[in-house]
Amino acid sequence: MLKYIVRRLFMLIPVLIGVSILTFSLIHLIPGDPARSMLGDKATEAQLESLQEELGLNDPYIVQYGRFLGDIVQGDLGTSIQSKEDIALQLLHKLPATIELTIFAMILAVVVGIVAGVIAAVKQYSWFDNISMTGALFGVSMPIFWLGLMMIFVFSVQLQLLPPSGRMSSSIELETITNFFLLDSILTLNWAAFKDTFFHLLMPGIALGTIPMAIIARMTRSSMLEVMKQDYIRTADAKGLKKHLVIFQHALKNAFLPVLTVIGLQFGLLLGGAVLTETIFSWPGVGRYVYLAVLGRDYPVVQSTILIIAIIFVMVNLLTDLLYKYFDPRIKYE
């Protein structure tokens, strides 16, 4: 297993180099002069020259790429053109917000998706099966930005039950330790902050989690149906094992592998979907950060953020592969 992990980590190197070349090239794909494009038409020659110098645009590409790579390895992601702040530092503040939202959405998607999928499979063709699978089909076709806005209209504007935007109400005070507000409020035993953060998480979490929830439910159902046809399930049933043991211990554990693949893949999509969700709910995370950078033509921010998200995505995929072994010890890694 250890050998496999090391080998997989080595295999990541070419992918990561490719990812870095692609993100590096982004700035050079801008038609015309990137510096002028960032500063706009009103910039003076002096401002232009200084930005070109700052970005090192006058050097040969290979030198620029070498410097880009060198900086990243040292954790230097550059400086934002708009705010003049260190990008790595800003990301450090914004990443926890996005990760908190993504994990919340994923937990929601996995719990609801798997439970719905298992019940739908066990009670195939029942009303629950029909309703949940129709719901799942609707879920995968749903524009999440629309769902988000409609939820704001219903739950914030009409019913005034949930806050429409942000991570926490301004009236609440919380001592931040990890920047994961839910975790911080537990660590500091601040239940008012916990409740407030949870309510703020609900709508963006549901909006972001809808598509993965639907996909996980569909995958769990079809995978469970496949497994439940197997002889060993019939044997387990025949020897009088309790129904829930057959379903959870025998069927679900074996049906989980394809579901796990979907979960891993969906995690990456969630990071992408966060751009839309965070924009709608003014969530101060990486997605909104990259969106505002795109609008402000703050290319160093776009470049660095996309690179970081791609690295996280690649790592999550690796983790998914490794988790396979736990759920299916038959898989042999060479």
């Binding site: 524009p143 629309w146 999509l269 992408g272």
Partner: protein, 304 residues
């Protein structure tokens, strides 16, 4: 082996052969009859047909002009007999804008998926057919593209190319390439081992001809399924880009852009947001339903 012809054919055998003949039909014929039997794929097909008819006859169906506005006193009118889906912030008729927006959605679906399909099929075909180092290089490139969440890569591409509908379609098309390449590659890998490919090679067909004339046409089923499902995703992604202001620009009646315009008035005029979103949802649902049905119909494992 006897050279004597059998004077009395076994009646049971002949009957079996006959039924076999009447039963055997083409893959596409089988697929068609299975789709017709599936209610959900028929619903999907109906939605797609309605979309196409709406796009073709948009000027006849729309009750108002999609871009002109009579007067600002018509702003944010709630749905009525005059404006069945209400009016937007400039007093434009939402129903007419949605009707004309169907043309843009079809355009996005066809062009973006066309880009993904042409490049993806070629890359996947070449990788699968030639194998070895060519396969390695192409598939590593695909891996690199897949290291980015697709909508994020599309956003980055649009940020660089400039925000407009054309670039949004290109970006959505580019991020869809890996799916096609991977599906076609695995289909080619199995097709190229078949005897008719060996035969084509044996009679001296060149690689290019073998790939284009014999291998790829036999990988058509998974390509068509992927294309149908991709149209829904492409429309969704492009609408997302337009919603962020990175796709279609005003006054184009693109559904995602309409939703974005209506955001400011969500509190007082929710219909400006509700109806264009419903249109996106229905069309994507249509393509997903039909795509699912096609996949089931073309999957030989489900034949029993």
């Amino acid at each position: 082996m006897s050279l004597q012809p059998n004077p009395l054919p076994d009646p049971k055998l002949a009957e079996a052969q006959e039924t076999n003949q009447s039963k055997s039909s083409s893959l596409w014929g089988d697929a068609f009859s299975r789709i017709v039997k599936s209610k959900t794929s028929l619903i999907g097909l109906c939605i797609i047909l309605i979309l196409i008819i709406t796009a073709i006859f948009a000027p006849l169906i729309a009750t108002h002009s999609p871009t002109d506005y009579a007067s600002l006193t018509d702003r944010y009118q709630s749905p009525s007999s005059e404006h069945i889906l209400g009016t937007d912030e400039l007093g434009r008729d939402i129903f007419s804008r949605i009707v004309f927006g169907s043309r843009i959605s079809i355009q996005i679906g066809v062009i973006a998926v066309g880009i993904s399909m042409i490049i993806g099929v070629l890359l996947g075909g070449i990788a699968g057919y030639f194998g070895r180092w060519i396969d390695q290089i192409i598939m590593r490139l695909i891996d690199i593209m897949m290291a980015f969440p697709s909508i994020l890569l599309a956003i980055a591409l649009v940020a660089v190319l400039g925000p407009n509908l054309r670039n949004a379609m290109i970006a959505v098309g580019i991020v869809g390439i890996p799916q096609f390449a991977r599906i076609v590659r695995s289909a080619v890998l199995s097709v190229k081992e078949t005897e008719y490919i060996e035969a084509a090679r044996a009679i001296g067909a060149k690689h290019g001809r073998t790939l284009m004339q014999h291998v790829l046409p036999n990988c058509l089923a998974p390509i068509i399924v992927q294309a149908t499902l991709s149209i829904g995703t492409a429309i969704l992604d492009a609408a997302g880009l337009s919603f962020l202001g990175l796709g279609a620009q005003p006054p184009k009646p693109e559904w995602g852009a309409m939703l974005s315009d209506g955001r400011a008035a969500l509190q007082n005029a929710p219909w400006v947001v509700a109806f264009p979103g419903m249109a996106i949802f229905l069309v994507v649902l249509g393509f997903n339903l039909f795509g699912d049905g096609l996949r089931d119909a073309l999957d030989p494992r489900l034949k029993q």
